[in-house]
């Protein structure tokens, strides 16, 4: 607690004096509040806890890290204003965007104008981080467009017994729709028949009509890649209609808790982060840190932010002191961070690939016999070219 006040006081003091700083300044614009906050706020809380710990242990290269965390409520104009402030007033050497994709364009514009590397942590990775990558944009987020669908359909192909009639459920936001349309396109490659693609507007009181359509079309597998609320409500609606087949969906932050709540053996979640029931040493480490910091969010939702913290630490370490944005960028272009089991493999960045060289997936489900979450398919990867 005292550390938090100290860091805060330092942040205020440093923010006040726009000149000489004796710390690494990392600027963040994030959707801490607003409708999509439940995705990004836990990640930023985890990042804060991680950096606080780093600072307590002496900092990086002997210097503390100053996180300037600004809320943009997923509004593009606020994100742009935040970026302007971070680049001009706070003099950040590394920028982070943990917000909705609608805030990307203004943040990218500002980062480019100020030539400061921009890391996306929590929001979907923009196209520019895939090879050939834009020099300034990097991404640590777990989920990835097109790769996720491939990973998911690969799993379905391996696990399904017999003919697969695939149903797809998306939320009526461009990202989810686009991904599900992509899945629809590649389904024939796997030999699947597509029962239908349901695009569901977010504020729907009753998901039953959409589930009815999927059920009537005879889907025996349903894959959904959307914000968790759409995924889980479609699933629950299908179950209420007495649809007893398999449902595969993306493992968002809430997945672990929800698997335990729903206790359904045919609900599979595919994700890039390992679940905490694996109880690896790193999970215990995170649990302890979270408990000590008295965080608002459960430890299971902290992976994304913790990974971002590890990457930032490595990047700043590589940049040395005194650090400039150019040095940080250079450090990030040849970065390899061991995630200690939080993901299937390390995060590896090269000059051309700012996403990662291999994208790993794992599939979990609930097991009634063991009364626990088990691994349905262990780590498998796709090369990112």
């Amino acid at each position: 607690m005292r550390m938090k006040i100290a860091v805060a006081a330092m942040a205020v003091a440093i923010a006040g004096s726009a000149s000489a700083q004796d710390a690494y300044v990392v600027g963040i614009t994030s959707a801490l509040t607003g409708p999509p906050a439940s995705t990004y706020a836990p990640a930023m809380e985890a990042l804060r806890i991680y950096i606080d710990r780093v600072n307590t242990n002496g900092g990086i290269n002997g210097k503390k890290v100053n996180l300037v965390l600004l809320d943009d409520s997923a509004e593009p104009s606020k994100a742009a204003a935040n970026m302007k402030r971070l680049t001009t007033q706070d003099e950040a050497i590394l920028l982070i965007n943990a917000s909705l994709s609608s805030t990307y364009a203004p943040t990218i514009g500002e980062a480019k104008r100020a030539s400061i590397p921009l890391l996306f942590a929590g929001g979907v990775c923009p196209n520019e981080v895939y090879p050939p990558a834009d020099p300034l944009q990097f991404c640590t987020t777990a989920y990835a467009a097109t790769f996720d669908s491939r990973g998911a359909l690969t799993f379905v192909k391996e696990t399904a017994k017999g003919e697969v009639t695939l149903g797809l459920a998306a939320m009526a936001i461009p990202l989810s729709r686009g991904e599900m349309e992509f899945a629809q396109k590649i389904a024939p490659e796997f030999g699947f028949k597509v029962a239908g693609l349901e695009v569901i507007p977010p504020p729907t009181p009753d998901y039953t009509p959409f589930a009815t359509k999927l059920k009537d079309a005879g889907a025996n597998w349903v894959f959904s890649w959307a914000p968790w609320v759409t995924q889980v409500r479609t699933f629950e609606a299908l179950r209420r209609l007495d649809w007893k087949n398999d449902y595969l969906t993306w493992a968002h932050l809430e997945a672990e808790g929800e698997l335990q709540r729903l206790k359904d053996q045919k609900l599979f979640v595919i994700g890039a982060n390992s679940l905490y029931q694996d109880n690896l040493p790193i999970h215990q480490e995170i649990r302890e840190a979270v408990k000590k910091a008295g965080a608002k969010y459960p430890a299971e939702q902290m992976s994304e932010g913790w990974i971002a913290g590890m990457v930032i630490e490595a990047a700043l370490k590589g940049a040395g002191w005194p650090a400039t944005p150019a040095k940080v960028q250079e450090s990030m272009q040849a970065l390899k961070v061991d995630l200690k089991g939080l993901r299937g493999g390390p995060i590896e960045w090269t000059k051309d690939n700012h996403f990662r060289t291999k994208q790993f997936y794992r599939v979990y489900r609930w097991d009634d016999a063991k009364k626990a979450i088990v691994v349905a398919k262990d780590w498998y990867s796709f090369d990112v070219k």
Partner: protein, 359 residues
């Protein structure tokens, strides 16, 4: 009468030529000159952050002025403001994306699209009044936003359409300072258009419409024509504001045009003071800067980082609260407060005291 005392209250016009003057007294002339000078010097004195705030205020004031024309003067309640802003922004986005249209084509095109939409938004006003008109504009807003969203998805612009900086006479308008002057020009132009429109026949017709439609019709004012005109002009201006907004942010995305945006603009004209152009400007300043002020206050408190998560909620709550306070206690808005302030100083040392027994 050529020698008018510097600060007066009264009517001193003695010739038709003087009727056209915007500024009558010497005091007003001097303060207007000082204010313009301050506006012109401002960008050279402050950093990028405050320049961005000023730019946002200018953008907001154009939209607020157009809404004030429609609702404050012509009396047509419109809750579809965000839809019109979206229309202007999407026009620019689509023209840029599909045909790489330059600034000086896209902006008038946006105005044109706004005008056309204004006809659509205005048609219900011929049959409906008050609440029902507001509801119809609300419904139209949802339809416009839906169409915009469909376009974005069809074209695969999930994260929004990115627009290049506009270029005028070969200069690319990118730096905040340059934007400041461009937006200052547009805001001032909008303000003068509004002032002149209101001093003209159309403005008088609108005022009559707002007071009492039946009497206006009896006086020979074309009710349908003037209502549609109000919608068309206001929508054209709003679309231009949306287009400028798109150029300034460099991108267009449907998520930015929610119902809350409409509520913000309505709050601007209410908090500013309905029926006064100054109210639109003051309201724009107030509503735009309120969130930043709250953030500044909250970050000055101890334990600031812990509050970062709830600033949004505090903003929302404060916004609603301020709007309620103005609606309940100060129906004339900031302009009312301004006038009271002016009266106080003008009548000093006399005070405005209500008659005994009247409250």
């Amino acid at each position: 009468m050529s020698r008018v005392p510097p600060r007066t209250s009264g009517y001193f016009r003695t010739g038709y030529g003087q009727d056209f003057r915007l500024i009558e007294t010497r005091w007003r002339r001097v303060s207007a000159a000082l204010f313009s000078l301050a506006l012109l010097v401002f960008p050279f004195l402050v950093g990028g952050y405050y320049l961005d705030l000023a730019n946002q205020v200018f953008l907001a004031s154009i939209g607020a002025l157009s809404l004030m024309l429609l609702t404050g003067y012509a009396g047509q309640i419109s809750l579809g403001h965000a839809g019109l802003l979206a229309a202007g922004a999407f026009t620019v986005g689509i023209l840029f994306k599909e045909w790489n249209a330059p600034f000086w084509i896209a902006l008038p095109a946006a105005a044109f699209v706004g005008a056309m939409l204004g006809v659509v938004f205005g048609l219900p006003s011929l049959r409906l009044r008050g609440l029902y008109l507001a509801i119809s504009t609300l419904a139209l807003h949802f339809v416009v936003v839906y169409v915009g969203g469909e376009y974005q998805t069809e074209r695969g612009d999930y994260t929004g359409i990115i627009i290049d900086a506009p270029s005028l006479f070969g200069y690319s308008i990118v730096s905040p300072r340059l934007w400041y002057f461009v937006l200052l020009f547009f805001a001032a132009a909008a303000l003068f258009i509004c002032i002149n429109l209101l001093r003209s026949r159309t403005g008088r017709a609108w005022r009559a419409l707002r007071s009492n439609e039946t009497v206006a019709a009896a006086l020979g004012i074309g009710v349908a024509w003037n209502k549609l005109l109000a919608f068309v002009i206001s929508s054209a201006m709003t679309a231009v504001a949306g287009a400028l907004f798109a150029y300034y942010r460099g991108f267009v995305s449907v998520e930015a045009f929610s119902l809350f945006l409409t509520i913000q603009y309505v709050a601007m004209i209410i908090i500013g003071g309905m029926g006064y152009l100054l109210g639109a400007v003051l309201g724009a300043v107030f509503v735009t800067l309120l969130p930043y002020a709250i953030e500044a206050i909250m970050s000055a408190l101890p334990g600031a980082q812990a509050y970062a998560g709830i600033i949004f909620a505090v903003n929302y709550a404060a916004f609603g609260l301020v709007m309620i306070l103005f609606l309940v206690f100060e129906p004339l808005g900031l302009v009312g407060i301004w006038h009271r302030l002016q009266n106080y100083f003008q009548q000093w040392p006399f005070k405005n005291r209500p008659l005994a027994g009247s409250k």
